[in-house]
Subunit: 473 residues, 2 copies
Amino acid sequence: MFKPVIVAALGTSLLASGAFAQTPAELEEQIASNTEILIEQALADTVGLAFVEDLTTEVGQRLAGSEAEQRARDWSVAELTELGFDNVRVEAFEIPFWSRKSEAVSVLTPAPQNLVATALGGSAATPEGGVSGSVVRFESLAELQAAPISKTDGKIVFIDELTIKTMDGSGYGMGVRKRSGCAQAASDKGALACLIRSVGTQPHRMPHTGIMARDGAEGAGPVAAISGPDADQLTRLLARGPVTVSVDIQTEIKTNAPSGNVIAELTGTDLKDEIVLIGCHLDSWDLGTGALDDGAGCGIVVGAARLIAGLPERPRRTIRVVLYGAEEVGLFGATAYAREHGDDLDKHVLASESDFGAGPIWRFQTRFGEAALPYARTLQSLLMPLGVTPGDNRARGGPDIGILARSGVPVVTPGQNGIDYFDYHHTPDDTFDKIDHDEFRQNVAVYAVFTYVAAATGWDFRKQPEPETAGTE
Amino acid sequence: MFKPVIVAALGTSLLASGAFAQTPAELEEQIASNTEILIEQALADTVGLAFVEDLTTEVGQRLAGSEAEQRARDWSVAELTELGFDNVRVEAFEIPFWSRKSEAVSVLTPAPQNLVATALGGSAATPEGGVSGSVVRFESLAELQAAPISKTDGKIVFIDELTIKTMDGSGYGMGVRKRSGCAQAASDKGALACLIRSVGTQPHRMPHTGIMARDGAEGAGPVAAISGPDADQLTRLLARGPVTVSVDIQTEIKTNAPSGNVIAELTGTDLKDEIVLIGCHLDSWDLGTGALDDGAGCGIVVGAARLIAGLPERPRRTIRVVLYGAEEVGLFGATAYAREHGDDLDKHVLASESDFGAGPIWRFQTRFGEAALPYARTLQSLLMPLGVTPGDNRARGGPDIGILARSGVPVVTPGQNGIDYFDYHHTPDDTFDKIDHDEFRQNVAVYAVFTYVAAATGWDFRKQPEPETAGTE
């Protein structure tokens, strides 16, 4: 049903392409036919959805550096091998490890009550039994940073800053500042501990964890996030008078813990040394089962690649699926990949990752060489039947492939509607039932189409190719 | 703005009423005027809303028999006195006490992971360190009860029965059967413990507690509720093969703990011995702050009574506000009230309670003597401007006043839309922010109107009054 649109979209781009075993007309016919097959199959996907269902069920949470993340790698290697991928392997590395052992935050006076709270990743432990003190509330990290030390010394500071829900997730970056900065600011100000309003956006009593800092296993002080309703409760109590709370966080840390990237490929044909990389991250936070963050992303890229493997012809380039390890705690997998593959980044013709849940893709951004923009427009045209609007050429590529983008690898960002993403992300509520199956399948379709077309053509997204027909004009 | 409707609704009923100091026309004018005032003030209520906000903030959760419930009584006495009520007092009684100390449910094999769980009220403790065993799943309590003991002996049974969302809460009764019956059934079948799918209706990872049995502090065995997503996870795991779980529940129990009913009145005038009772319950479960269950109910009845106290004239009958204690753990407050006031139940002309959250009232049911139904129709007509439709004459009166209804006290049930009530009820998410202020205020208006009219008239809801005008016909 999509074919006439697809043929129209491909027309001019293929004429401008490089060397083919087929005539442009033959290739146009093949790509149009295969794209139609991919879309129709993706919209009925079962492989990608089963991948995330099985991963989150049979492994559960996958905290970076934990035994559970190890199980996830073993599980993924077995599953990807079973699905027929080539060169399935783990590229191992080590990371500093942090895990919560216990956490409790409660109001002591004037009205004893528990608060729903979770330690942030990398939080320092408190002494056994916790610390307790008066609460001083700030509306932002900046307000805490500007406060006189006399206001905070020996106290427990509380940053009650909202995260705004946005379709593109831009509110999260603002919300995260307090998560990254509170431990250091609190420590600088002589505070005993820091509480932050959870960075999540849901109205439920769900605490939202996340890493405090990217550079090690333990931060400058104890920090816990309390749920939105608990932040409101604490604020109401503070409006009535002084409040003391207890914060008790016990942790386990290790200097070196095992992690790794799981890699699987569909080997290409005449351009098999050229790589189209699609990624996700395999680790998750420990509170939920990491279904949206980022089991879904792995299901989407695995599902898309598996559909391409089932086409009548293998694409020319190699499609590499990378399930990054230890993303949540400091992008360790991304760094390890760049280190391991630094010498052949020029062979990476395109990279993309899925790490923003499973909401419908509404926009397709690229970051191509200026002269390669006709390819961007062609890919965007191919995706229009799936409800995807063209985006700009300023894609950043996401957390794990950002390092590739900054090294000059062309990237695309299929932009998902993430308006509800931070309702679940990093909370106990990030579980399989939160994935809308039809929306997930639209993602599989988008990834299948652009990955396939990038691998089936010889298009150079870095620079304008030589026009094949120039000499005959 | 409501006055013409109100006057029309009152017309015929007042002509049929008993002895008055005023002519029927004067009373009609007064009631119409006061009803209009009450509605307009209720729809801008601040007292009722502040009552629930302050109670849930300044006290928090109010587990029956706990120190927190004691604080709630002290707080309520002070607040009701401050609001100008008469005869503010506590009618004390003792109850068996149960409290959770700790609770943990986790999958041991094949994939170690924590499940979000909470012990049911009255659950037996497990041995220290918990019990562990294979899980056997049942789709209903009946299926467990019919199972051969060979299937369950030494196992952990799991009843995975859904609760259906309904406007009138009828799905809850079905959902509760497994909560009430699982401990005994599990014990009869030699099982180590019982897990149930939470009786709540929300899709989040919120466990839903509640009492197992009404007759004591500790039940037949350990029972925990796991959240809906965790029940789904366990079911998915069981579909893949054998699953073992660990259940660790530690409790505190006492034979006698203090509880009490808090009572406050607006003393009537010429009919002050006759009582119009409006109630709620002051205790709550311990996971949330009991905002919808039943802080809201207390705010609604207190707010309504306070508005009536502000009218130009006191109503003829005494309005008694009863904040029942220890409702959640076995209706101990209701029983104590009936015991204490058994000799003057005939003086209770009407009773009603608010214990179903703060959703808008859409229906007004009565349980009046057949011959008193014209009064039902009049009250229903008065409430129509608030969007309330007439209900039938089969009101049951709710948990706390049910015992009065069964003793012949006329009752009314203002039926709230409870479609979302069990999303929050008995979970950590039952907090003040879940109350819609406008919907809450519509409740205050409904309670103010029927309570005022019942107290301002001499209407006998038990039987047909003598027609005053009969002799002149």
